[in-house]
Assembly symmetry: C2
Homo-oligomer: 345 residues x 2
């Protein structure tokens, strides 16, 4: 076969299809590799104790827009999205490495601002920045971070352990980051067309904050440990609730029932959604970047968390043959479809 | 102070100045952080055993030119340059994570070729690819790899342990990768101006191979262990011999004497250097990407390695006040200056 004659567009496979394709022949040689590609993070055994490792890349113009993203916030968020993956394994983040590609557009002062945010996140999450690489880029800012965490042996939680009848839970509230993005994109458009008009973000601190300064839910990981709850599966919500639930269903081989009226929203999220003539549920299902934790627990653990305000039970898992459904407020049953990554392209 | 009014160009600090600047306030919070930013890799303690971590970023148009770099070689080399950093700590690489930014110029077949090289390196070095991120880039290919390795507690070797009278050693031979780059750049230029002329790389497999398919010297790490030699300092040669020696001198607070006639060259390297009307010594001192190991040993260890062909003793360390010198073939004494990173920009 002449490889040069074939050309398959990356877009035809989609993000997850591409990763599956590229890693289909990946082999494990090290006995210490407990969990490899395919979850929020990998797990390696370090002489009986376990280390959790996750890596993310953020590219200017693709993942962030410096027109409305302060560099300090970007530094903070770049760390947080990686720590969130470590939390999603039920582990505690401990270290990061940071690789930066920078074009000559960026001054040292600009990089200082970015690092201020990085250090603020390291400080808040008690994490050490231990290395990395700083190189020139031909265009824009490129950020690549690897986060490392620790966990008691075999206490890590993957996406594949959910069982039928387990309860489906989510931390915090959803949809805010997506609406924050819509709001900032709208103000950017107005500003570009009418530079004299001041951005109107009055009373929108919550949703813009959700986008610009998300947090990793280490508090949830700690609360679960304190209350002796080990989730049966867990992941963080970076793409959108429906896409993430479908990941758990696929990797755990279960079905699910999700109740629309149980999905948690902040009041400001609902308000902004209505102003945008959008359904908050759609924002939660298909918007991304909320960085909340989505997890399943055994029914027996329900009593331990039902009084907890930080966690909402939003549905339950079923046998795989029962399918994956959303029950609307009006009681209608809709099949849950993945709209996460490609929905808003 | 109004930060927005200040603008310091990154170029004014240089690569190492920039890193020093950005990390000047970096704090260590985790008791497990044994060694942080400033060496080839970081070291973290994992419950009594130690893990070595290193991270590198490669950007198309800055670090590689796809016009003469086959994607499979690029995949292989991307892994190798990271494993080389782990070897430079005297550790054994075990795992990598790989983040890729790809523009729509790249087809799935092209990525397959890249991954073939990544897997070939994983296979050769017995390393597991355990995770990463694949994202869109607006332009070109961006590669960010984190390598993880293991080492017996406190056996890692930094750049800061060299002592006066220690012998300065280097593995393999030097200058080849730089000349391979000159050769490929020349052929590219000829091809762009005269597409009908075929590239003339006859008899140049060694120097082009040094650039396109370098190896990490894990064999040297193993040989040192087998022969009970623990280097007092070590790093890999990615920038150029003089720049790397000066790193060791600075971080170890020692001076040095380097003998030009002891610097090891491959015959083809010398031949190509003369064809280019260049001094092979200059290529070794200031060219980069040889990925050999530079290390210092105690004089007592000399007998163990003097019969070893893979390692050359090229000089010795002195008291800091004695300065850093190169003794030429003719016996002249020149001060050693850093020309690594900026020499060929």
């Amino acid at each position: 076969m002449n490889m040069s004659e074939e050309r398959t567009e990356v877009a035809s496979l989609g993000e997850f299809g591409l990763i599956d394709h590229l890693t289909r022949n990946n082999e494990t040689r090290q006995a210490s590799t407990i969990l490899s590609i395919g979850d929020d993070a990998a797990v390696i055994d370090q002489f009986g104790k376990q280390t959790v490792i996750s890596s993310d890349m953020l590219i200017e113009g693709v993942h962030f827009d410096l027109m409305y993203t302060p560099l300090k916030h970007l530094g903070y968020k770049s760390v947080v999205v990686n720590l969130s993956d470590i939390c999603a394994m039920n582990a505690t983040p401990t270290h990061i490495t940071l690789n930066l590609g920078i074009s000559n557009r960026f001054s040292v002062e600009a990089l200082d601002e970015f690092y201020e945010g990085v250090y603020a996140a390291c400080n808040f999450y008690n994490v050490d920045l231990i290395g990395g690489d700083t190189v020139s880029s031909q265009r824009g800012l490129i950020i690549s971070i690897t986060a490392i965490g620790e966990i008691t042996p075999d206490k890590f939680v993957t996406r594949s352990g959910a069982k039928s009848k387990d309860l489906l839970c989510v931390s915090g509230d959803l949809g805010g980051a997506y609406l924050g993005l819509q709001l900032l994109e709208r103000e950017k458009k107005i500003f570009l067309e009418h530079p004299e008009i001041k951005p109107d973000l009055e009373g929108r601190a919550y949703v813009t904050g959700r986008l610009l300064k998300p947090e990793a839910r280490i508090d949830i990981v700690e609360w679960l440990a304190e209350n002796d709850i080990v989730p049966t599966s867990m992941m963080d919500i970076s793409d959108g609730l429906s896409s993430e639930i479908l990941h758990i269903c696929k990797q755990s081989n279960v079905g699910c029932v999700l109740y629309e009226d149980k999905i948690p929203f902040h009041d400001e999220t609902k308000e902004v959604a209505y102003k945008f003539d959008t359904d908050p549920t759609a924002c939660a299902l298909s918007g991304g970047e909320d960085y909340e934790l989505l997890f399943t627990i055994k029914q027996d653990d329900y009593d331990k968390l039902r009084m907890q305000e930080k966690i909402s039970v939003i549905g339950y898992m079923t046998e795989p043959a029962e399918g994956k459904y959303l029950i609307t407020r009006k009681g209608n049953k809709h099949e849950l479809t993945a709209q996460g990554w490609t929905a808003f392209q």
